[in-house]
Amino acid sequence: MRVLLDNITKIFGKVVAVNDLTLEVEDGKLVVLLGPSGCGKSTTLLMIAGIYRPTEGKIWFGDNVVNDLPPKDRKIGLVFQSYALYPHMTVFENIAFPLRLKRENKKEIDKKVKKISEFLEIGELLDRKPIQLSGGQQQRVAVARALVKSPDILLLDEPLSNLDAKLRVVMRTELKKMQMRLGITTIFVTHDQSEAMTVADKIAVIKNGVLQQYSSPDELYDIPKNLFVATFVGSPPMNIIEGSLSFKDGNLFFLNPDVRFELPEDMKVVLKQERNTEEVLFGVRPEDVNISYERSGSQDSTSWLVDMIEMMGRELLVTLSREKTMLKTIVDREHVPSIGEKVNVEFTGKVFLFDKYSGKNLLCEE
């Protein structure tokens, strides 16, 4: 089922939780609402669920406006971060609860519960109480309860946040697999960008109730529309350096007391000449910062001081500094610098430019 949020606004008292949000979730896709806590993503989800009524705007399910439809009539399944498994009911009763409320007959209920629990591999747990289950099992039960009534839409509110790190990684893949198998339209709320990147067909990044960008994970990573998206997506986050643009000899430079970088040709095309002395933010992802130990001929490379080295497993995260600027870079373990060492830096991959004041990506013209 296609879900369309049409200029949705939600105001609590004086607080604008969601501001003029428009979003279309295509049928059968998994869309992630991503943003820091308090950004309005959960509110949006709860509006879709029918818990909240939007202050303005319309919510479409397929061809119907569902603004006034109570949750029970929306044919949705909802999984909370806390799972909200009723502690006084067994797993079976929990899963059967929606069906019982619909007064389906007993046999039918048994059949459906059995089917869904086998699908989610929790068939043996049916007689237990939620408190006797592990986090992962609880999560499966919650999903089972959401799915048992064959909803049109599955809503997941931070479903993985209560799991430990290892399990989280496993479960997110499983969730994705399950969603693909069922082909159910799914809206998934999370604050974890890596989780979002792995599961989503499309990601909506929200900040302070405003939609920042709605696109596929690739696009989000490659063409962030603004500084917020750029820094929020990707780990470790993008390096941001303050400075200005300057044309010289037909070349466009990013300038800063510590950094001088000639921008690639294609950028020059996008950016107009007039932007000569404009103050901008220069962004480069850590994985695109290369260090070398010998002075290269390049003008752009200057010598930086190695401040800190953090072990990240396969790679190392190195913090470099020079006068007023700090840079983080990822270095593989074959070339380990030592602290206090001076190194040269090269920006090899994609770089980004943002407006210092609006935060807009200067390279995406709308």
């Binding site: 309005g40 959960s42 818990i51 909240y52 009524r53 806390s82």
Partner: protein, 317 residues
Amino acid sequence: MKGQTPRGATQVIPKRAIYSLKRKKKKERRAQEVRGEAVTFSRRNEIISTIIMTIISIPIFLSYLWLFLSSFSAKMWHGLIPLKFTLHNWRFLWQPIKFGAVMHTSIWPITLNTLLLALAVTISEVLVSTLSGYALSRFRFKGRVMIQGMTMLLHAFPGVALLIAIYYVLYTMRLLDTLWGVMLVKISLEIPMSTNIIKGFFDNIPWDIEWSSFVDGCNRWQTWRYVILPLLKPGIAAISLFSFLSGWGEFLYIYTFIFTSKKQTLATFLNSLIGEFKFVDYGLLSAVATFYMIPTLLFFIFTQKALLQMSFGGRKA
């Protein structure tokens, strides 16, 4: 941000907290507002429930209103609507009142008695229960569980069933007809409960805090004064409040164990005004009763919000 009070938040706060938690209140209000935004929320149900609540609250609401109003009025229409303002009913404040041909003593010594009793009960109850609460929470010793079970058991049957026997105990201790005797009975009756409350508060103060204060260089006294006491304050406030009010309102023990009219308190005084002869002068009675209610009302006004946030009863996780 989800518009809800996280489950944890209500549990972190020490139970029976008297102090007002502004933040929590805000959150609660927000949670309520949020509910009002729900699609399922029915304005009609809210109105119906408000109407039901109003109707069942009428007796309480009107009777207290009546108490207050009739103390200031010379005449009441149908006992409900005051017709004429007067201070006559309050004359007991500046002169001994006469009822029939019986002169009653001035109210002030009686008020002083009541106040002394209430304060004595409050102070001793706080002292005794803090000591015992601390011991039960912090020490591991033989019979601890037994004593705790005992506090529970005592809690279950109020001493009124034991009135006759308590009379004998007081008699043996030569404490009959003294407010001290009544005070002791009152305290004994209530310490099992207040010990339990205080023990709960001690339980909520982690050992770590105490240890870290030692590490930080506090001695035992400083730990007590700067670390434990502030955390205990809400509990002490709760006990003080309840013991004061119960001492202030005490009737039966004074009625039974006090024989000298000089040692009357407001409760027995008011009861004697109502009297066997049922000379029900509602104007005067309501004035005395309102006077008697003043501390209660003050406490009520200042602490009702906190009172309402206190939770009672063991919650089984």
